[in-house]
Symmetry: D3
Subunit: 254 residues, 6 copies
């Protein structure tokens, strides 16, 4: 089984973190195929960046071509997720979606704990987009700046554990989600220092992508995720244009 | 990995259906351990029966003893689920919960399609209990009586497919859940006659139970699913009494 | 008029408290018929215990036999309430339900004030189950342990009054509900030390049970509380089995 | 016990209907004190009329003077209810409020069935005002004109019964409320022709007003229903002006 | 274009404030026609006063007669608004409504900041009435008394700015509404001392009333704001009686 | 006052329609500056296209440069709106947002009526994104194909009027929004054939953009729409890259 692990950010070191953490829970026989955005921003943190990054995610999915059994959009906030679910035959799961739905099975309310305050509004809209606001105990974020996006989890480990504990005490969280992508792998490391279950979004996403690939639901031909009718495009990257126009991509074009 | 497949109904033939359908999607190395209630009703269909059946589910979980990596409460409606999540160390997942959360990853709104109108109020409260009302396009049920609970899926196949199609057309469902337990296995059979993805609850539950077992979140010692403090009991079955009283079950007692 | 005052806990001293507080507001001619659970736990405080206690409540209602005009399930949290409303001809009201609906007539938002933190998750789900979350200003609980469940109201009186005052000040409660059953009678005692109306759940429940008995609504033969069709049972206590199977209980059986 | 039965409409014949239906369920010793508005409209049916009629209800309550143990604002829609609850020492209950809260104890969802389509928007806002939208299965209204407001219940009896049955079948109502004031007494008459419990708003209101009088909650001195501080007024009827200004009404003035 | 600026309070000095602040944003050619209530209270602050003041607003609108292109009910809380929208041909906008809808275009969540705690319950119900609860970050009010309603904005300026800043910091407000009518004009003055956009309700209302007058939507003849059928009245002020009865007002009457 | 009328679709003829309809309600002195997307799709109709089109809208806003007083994102569905509100100093309003908020001032519930079923899921998520679901009576769409996107309003006029009437009759809409961009100008034409007010989104948007420009709220430096900190970018169009990086665009670059 081949699962595309799509990082819509341009930071390859974060893709590596995601790949490592995802690999630890992948089933034997599952191949995680990493991809890093070649344009965009180092890490998506705002609604504007998610708008741009979501469009880039669609381009990357179109490029991934055949042979993919499922895909993960590996930015907490799930940029481009619903559009992807319209356009492509294979199942696509979002990092936030997988983490939150998995968290629902171990707690009544989850808290999202992350490293930068700038992420909160985007995360909050993501929770609402998935209809899970009533299951969310809160979003807690660290205050200060950080050195490097790919090393923020080491730099802030103590503070994040303390913040997760605060989410349990003050917000009555039953379960904590350590997000987003740059914290991949941290949950396993700090598991015993937080008194409730801790979810690692990429670990959840890998398992959920596998589940969708195994259950193998048909591609909808009705409902809101049926593939849209073909439509002409102008100036879009060739692979995405081909998907929207319902045709094979042109040779050599991009 | 050993997953308890707990049927809180007294109909062993339904347990067989669940086991067969679950086995088709279980990972290599996963053992599904079936259990059928020794008291209760042939199939839970009302709130009163769910109240009783949920208590029986707790008794069965207490009996299952050590060596279980995860458990499935295999009645759509999830009787006893939250109580189970308080009492036991291993993860427990409900049939409805697993089906609905999985459905959320392939559609914006799911419809629940089932074979008996009596189930609707209970199912509706189950959807609400999980905070997923906004993700539910509706619950559609067949009208008439049926011959046998363990063969209802064959008897009503055509009608259920038609009903699922109606849910897509009229309720704008993106995905259909064929429930409850007596329909285990039907989704795979009718997959191509319904224009949207179809979820088989027991298949979803087996994969989600595996996911929880692999992710292996710690047992909460805080939050609403921490294990309750020990408390004396009177007249409860011995294994459940022992769990509530925080002691080893007495030899030979039941 | 005979009103069954059903305590699904095994503590007879709490039944006495309920009976005394309920008797103070009962109309002339109303007989409160107390009943204490013969199996279960001393006081229900968690979802697991409510699951078990609700099934026991159904057994007790089935035993109560003819001659009852209405029944009160006298545990705040209303274990087994909706199942009871399906099975029985006479009206059944829950302690929490009666208290909350009565509170709605004297305030926009009520606070629930109680003596043990363990109760909060169960109470919160009870509020949601009744669709009254928007009318609830909050649930406030004392922290520490207590000596005896039947004397907790005397032991904690000062702390509970202080907590009720805090609910008014911080949560903007218009009305306070002092719950659950072990606090029966406390509201009248502390009435003048809390600046908003205080509801005693059992007092409210007695009046509401009388109201239902006097209004005498017909038993539903349609809708979600119609009596379920007869169904075989296995291993259930005889009176409850008889109710579910739509037959007279067997002589001498239990 | 003296309960003011305040009809904010100018039609005395409707007051008579209310008084008759209310008297049938009043406890021995309860005196229902009827009052009919001396200005306003024959029957309130719109938001504009409710705005005016609610102000008139406040005037009437101010006039009612001492010796009242509780009051009922006897127009479904509850004009002026929350304002009344601020201003007066005695408990005040609304016809819609009492009917809906009582209905909640016999069903999961109630339908409101009434005789004129013009009432629906006002009723709908009333349901929302009480936070009970999720408990309401729908509002169904007859279409045509009617002869006389005080005889509409006889004229439309068959149609209303048919409409109530439709609410049960199509909207899955567990309980039906026959409203508003001009239908007082009809519920008892048609009880056996509707397959679910039927609530008569004035019967419910009389019992609930008695309940509040017996429970005798203190007047709030905090929260949103504390009495507002005194304030000067200009051109208001003397008794209401006196209440708002916190003074005794002037002799002979109105 | 003539826009009626209707102050349902009796304080003419507040009408002056409203007129001045509204005039600063009115388009060339817009005439703001001020009107002050001749009966009622100096400033509406409670539900009881809003009930009375809303009825007075309807009387004032009926008196305003022909030649009005749109009207503003210039009390935050919008007393009488929906009734007005039923009765009159010209568009009517509320101060709170205009402020909140305008705020929605510059922020995800608005905070309402005002000078007196007594206003909060009424404001909160107004937010709910408009279906905007999810867009409201909170309502913050000053504590102490004030000298004069028409000079409260000068007296409390520093405290209100501090309170607005607190709403931004603690409630995460994206935008602040300085309300109600007595604060007209303050927003412009303190604009640079609050780090998010600040809305002046009367400024918003004047622009929204202009917008409605220019868009010139037809008066509904269907839906919930169609004009109610004529109905007899008793004892109402002549202009309002004439509107309700669908006739010309009698000469010389009032 | 210069208002950018940004069409994120590539169909210039639709921009012309928007410009014509918008000009009819613009104030004297307002200049509408039209812009048509140079890449993308002819008309956005799905979530995938909105994801892409929203990113293009951000690029276009970045290009628009100084001298703009406000901007309209003129596709119903508001692609890129919240991102735009983060990035730019001038106010930005969405076509759907402006139409819905304006509709709220003339009705309790609006219906959205449009020409293609493919639009419904996107529109529905747009309504939810603005928190206005409770104000929306429904979304009704025509079924069949259409000839040309820029002439669809003429081709389907009769059908759209019939559909709007159905929305009023069946969904109880108080007001109808004729959307999206290709229907610009239709509302004025069919005004008298629909019994409730009809809103033209671009007309509403022009007036609301003017309102924001006149009220001139400060750019947030706190809250969720404060401008994000500068961040490096890779491969984005030069003007947008410059905005995100907080620098002047490079000469000659794009």
């Amino acid at each position: 089984m081949r699962i595309l692990l799509l990082n819509p950010n341009t930071t390859a070191a974060v893709t590596d973190l995601l790949h490592a953490a995802g690999s630890r829970v992948a089933s034997p026989g599952t191949e995680l195929v990493p991809a890093t955005a070649s344009r965009g921003v180092p890490y998506i943190a705002t609604r504007a960046e998610a708008q741009i990054g979501g469009a880039i995610a669609l381009e990357m999915l179109a490029e991934a071509g055949p042979g993919i059994d499922a895909a993960i959009i590996a930015a907490f906030g799930d940029p481009g997720l619903f559009g992807a679910r319209e356009l492509f035959e294979f199942p696509v799961v979002g990092l936030a979606e997988a983490a939150m739905l998995t968290a629902c099975m171990v707690g009544r309310r989850f808290s999202i704990v992350t490293f930068a305050g700038a992420l909160a509004p985007w995360y909050e809209e993501c929770v609402a987009m998935h209809g899970l606001t009533a299951r969310c105990a809160g979003i807690r974020t660290l205050d200060g700046a950080f050195e490097s996006i790919s090393e923020v989890q080491a730099e802030k480990e103590e503070l994040l554990v303390a913040l997760a504990n605060r989410a349990v005490e003050r917000d009555n969280a039953d379960v904590v989600i350590l997000s987003g992508a740059p914290l991949a792998g941290l949950a396993a490391k700090v598991r015993d220092r937080i008194p409730v279950p801790v979810i690692d979004p990429v670990a959840a996403a890998v398992r959920q992508a596998e589940t969708l690939a195994v259950l193998n639901p048909r591609k909808a031909v009705a409902g809101t995720f049926r593939r849209p009718d073909p439509k002409p495009t102008l100036g879009l990257p060739e692979p995405l244009a081909a998907v929207i126009e319902h045709r094979s991509p042109k040779e050599g074009a991009r």
